[in-house]
Symmetry: C2
Subunit: 374 residues, 2 copies
């Protein structure tokens, strides 16, 4: 079968041939339909995050997938059912551990998990995968075409759940939310605040010039686009308002600290980005005092569990069709896989020194690879 694999650091993914996997007892064989591409994939391609399975020199990419059960293999799943696989698995050679037993692999520390398509286990960019059935989340057929968005939505489901938890010791009534970042995760989260979470006032911060499709999406959602070049995060309370929730999806480390200044009293900032080391100066006294005197909270969040995938399926059903159509800027077959990775191919100079693929325009929001049409 065909799969998309990468030698971390090589800078480009490639189509490879691999044997069709065979399901073990308790596993199903899934025929993959579509797999989304996100920033983590680029980090894996560049070799700055994740890693290959022991004994292998390449990693099959892909952690945002939707597929169809091809062989239920005696499990309770039905053949023909669309499913979304979760990402974390116990480490190689380990049956399970407390985090997996409790249904909370997302809370497992380093060494207690691998992540399919990211670190230590092959991913979902292949014609077929096998998976334990408790890691396969059913999705209705009418949502299947967008099923590769369930994983990123589940990331926000978890982050919001944890952010709410931080405020559960008192009667918290949030009305305003600020999303930092206009990437696909930022836009999906902006849509969730505006459409399914019922926030009254939603803001999304980016650094794009008008006209731009992402700004159009933000505004069609009824949210306010904030240009960080005009209004840096610490100035947002003066120019707009202070925020009950800040959701950071930029990986820009200064945002983690500036978010404290953007928060209203009793607010919470959820941090999602994974920046590299970067030293800079902060007014640590002021930030510390702000956190204390105004009962503010910061919470970091990574990965998501099955329950959050299930919530994400419900959320996906509640998002408007126009949003999903606008958000997914391209779905590409294996014959044009380079167009699904515009940022990777763009970094490889083409013959003659040009900058490569024409799909690397600034309007790409979210791409996916299609293995089987839905």
């Amino acid at each position: 079968m065909k799969a998309i694999a990468v030698t971390p650091g090589a800078g480009v993914p490639e189509v490879v041939e691999r044997p069709v996997p065979e399901p073990s007892p308790g596993e199903a064989l899934v025929r993959i339909c579509r797999v989304g591409v996100d920033g983590t994939d680029y980090e894996v391609i560049d070799g700055t995050h994740g890693g290959v399975p022991d004994g292998d020199d390449r990693l099959v990419l892909g952690h945002e997938a939707v597929g169809i059960v091809e062989d239920a293999n005696g499990t309770a799943l039905e053949e023909g059912q669309y499913v979304v696989p979760t990402v974390r698995r116990p480490p190689a050679g380990v049956e399970t551990n407390g985090y997996f037993e409790r249904g909370e692999p997302d809370m497992a520390p380093d060494g207690e998990y691998v992540e399919r398509g990211i670190v230590g286990a092959h991913g979902f960019m292949a014609e077929y995968i096998t998976s334990p059935v408790d890691c396969l989340v059913p999705i209705p057929a009418e949502l299947a075409q967008w099923g590769f968005l369930v994983e990123p939505i589940s990331i926000t489901e978890k982050a919001i759940e944890h952010a709410r938890a931080t405020r559960s010791a008192f009667d918290w009534r949030p009305e305003s939310a600020l999303v930092l970042g206009t990437g696909s995760l930022g836009l999906l989260t902006t849509a969730m605040f505006a459409e399914t979470l019922g926030y009254e006032r939603v803001y999304c911060l980016g650094r794009k010039d008008r006209p731009h499709p992402t700004i159009d999406i933000v505004e069609r959602l009824g949210a306010t686009y904030v240009d960080s070049r005009e209004t840096p995060v610490p100035e947002i309370p003066d120019v707009y308002e202070s925020m009950d929730v800040v959701y950071e999806a930029t990986g820009y480390a200064k945002h983690a600290f500036q978010s404290i200044e953007a928060l209203a009293p009793n607010g919470v900032a959820a941090l999602l980005g994974v920046p590299d080391d970067w030293s800079f100066e902060v007014d640590g006294g002021r930030l510390h005092r702000e956190l204390v005197l105004h009962n503010k909270s910061l919470v970091g969040s990574v990965n998501s569990n099955r329950r959050q995938f299930e919530a994400a399926v419900d959320t996906l059903a509640g998002l408007p069709d126009w949003l999903l159509e606008e958000l997914v800027s391209g779905v590409y077959g294996l014959e044009s896989v380079d167009r699904a990775f515009p940022e990777a191919t763009a970094r490889v100079p083409a013959a003659g020194g040009s900058t490569g693929s024409d799909s690397d325009d600034d309007t790409t929001i979210k791409t996916a690879v299609e293995f089987t049409s839905i």
Copy 2:
């Protein structure tokens, strides 16, 4: 009646004469027994925090009090009942607001409250006070002598409640706690982790030389004393272990950031200190990444509400007598009130240029002023 008042910035409190207050309907008249002194009092004395009531130029100090109901004034309280007053009240001229109605004045933002003895309202260092009865928390007579510790304990009750809340979205099983600070709040909190909260391993960080009574207290509690001069906070995971909870009670702004490095995966740091502005460099990328990839949280916490005062009464009952005896290094009557404020009097050079009171030795832990013996 006698009261202890301060002109903020004057550097020393003074004994003043004031009229005995008369209770309004719904209020009781309370005869004050003892009032504790803490770091906030010194900030008020120095004029760096808090402020006088409108139209006044002096503030009666004191927010950690225990007294006895002298006149129940037709309320449900019984005369002779020992009580501890809570600290926050609605702003002058305001009957109530949503925060007070919900029993959560500790979550009120600036302008929605005053604090007795700290900002905008006279405190409890007086022979008599009046208070609405819903701001008076009963305490058993046998605990009354230590009743002025209920307010600081309630501060920790709230902080721990909020810290736990941040971890309530998953199955969190904390075992290790690190308290930053060997002041009275740090020692009380160390005692709570060790004695009433059931943590298996408790650490308390300070910068005192052995032998020292605070180190003796830490060790008698079964906790480990960490000298920050030998083991700075970021090195604690290597030298001791990474911590499920960090509780910051130093007001040292770098600790707010270093605590992220001391935390175990899925850990939470509760921040209590109120530092001044102070700019310094941090590896913000590393700290941001740590928060995200290991699901860590920071939560600021200020003040406390009636429910947390009630929990603090129960906690006080569970603390060993030896601890309270050791912790309270002096209770002083009005005739030697300067000894209750050793840090204030020490900063005023005595005639001849000596450094003042002999009570300013380094072994003072917690003092209180006594108005009426118990």
